[in-house]
Symmetry: C2
Subunit: 141 residues, 2 copies
C-alpha cells in the first residue's frame, strides 16, 4: 500500500516530531511516499526541493499514485488543505487526524466533509487503533 | 460571472477588512457567491452556518457552480487550501493573491502549481489591474 502522509511544512513545524512518529507507524502498513515531512531538519522555510514547482509536481505525482492519504491537520497549513482537496476530488480515501486541546480551530471544510474520515485524538497511542482499522478497511494491504 | 472568493475564517480573521474590500471590487465584475467571507462580524469561531457539514456542502455547491475562484492566500488557512485544491482538480480557473511583506510563507503547493495564477501585491490598489485582466481573460463577462 502506498501512503501519502500530509503535514504542515511552511505553516509551521511545531508538530514535526509527532509527524515522524506517525510516519514510522504508517510504515508498518506500507510505503510512505512523503517521509521527508517528518524530518526534523526540514524547517518552515520549506526548502525540500530545488523550486516550488519541483516540490508541487513531485508531491502531486506522489498524491496521484498513492492508495490513501493520511493528514495530520492540527497545525493550520494551506498545502495540507490543498492536498486534501485534490485527493477528495480525485475520489481517494482520506483520513484526517486532529489533536484535541490544540489552540487551532479545525476548518469546516475538513470537519464537515462527508468524504473525509476524521479522528480526534489526544496522544499518539490513541491513534494506533483507528489508523489501523481505517487502513485495513481499504482492502489494499 | 459567478465568482467564488476564498479567504481565511477559522485560520484567522486579521485580513477580514481587506477581504471585504476585494469582494466589493469583484462585485463590479459579477456575482460574489461567498460575500459573507468579508463580514467583519464573522469571527474565527467560524459559525457561518448551523453545522460544519452544512457549511461544507453549501460552499462546495457554490464552488461547483462558480466560473472562477479568487483566493486571498496571505493568512494561512486549511479551508482556503482545500477549496483551491478541489477547484484546480475540477479544472476551474484560480487566481491567488499574496501580500508581500507578510510574516507567512506561501505554500509550495500554491506557489508551485502551474494551473494557478498567482499575484504578489503590497496594497489593494495594486491588485485592481491584474484582477481585472485575469477576469477579462476568461471570456465569461
Amino acid at each position: 500500500m502506498k501512503i501519502y502522509f500530509a503535514g504542515s511544512i511552511r505553516g509551521g513545524r511545531q508538530d514535526a516530531v509527532l509527524y515522524e512518529t506517525i510516519i514510522q507507524y504508517l510504515k508498518t502498513f506500507g510505503e510512505v511516499l512523503t517521509e521527508h515531512v517528518g524530518d526534523p531538519a526540514l524547517t518552515s522555510v520549506g526548502d525540500d526541493g530545488p523550486s516550488d514547482q519541483f516540490i508541487h509536481d513531485r508531491d502531486l505525482e506522489w498524491l496521484q499514485t498513492s492508495d490513501v492519504i493520511v493528514a495530520e491537520v492540527t497545525t493550520v497549513s494551506m498545502g495540507v488543505g490543498y492536498e486534501i482537496g485534490r485527493a477528495v476530488e480525485m475520489g481517494k480515501p482520506v483520513l484526517c487526524l486532529f489533536r484535541e486541546g490544540a489552540k487551532t480551530n479545525l476548518s469546516a471544510m475538513i470537519a464537515g466533509c462527508e468524504a473525509i474520515n476524521l479522528v480526534h485524538y489526544s496522544n499518539f497511542e490513541e491513534l494506533k487503533k483507528p489508523v489501523q482499522q481505517f487502513l485495513f478497511s481499504l482492502n489494499v494491504l
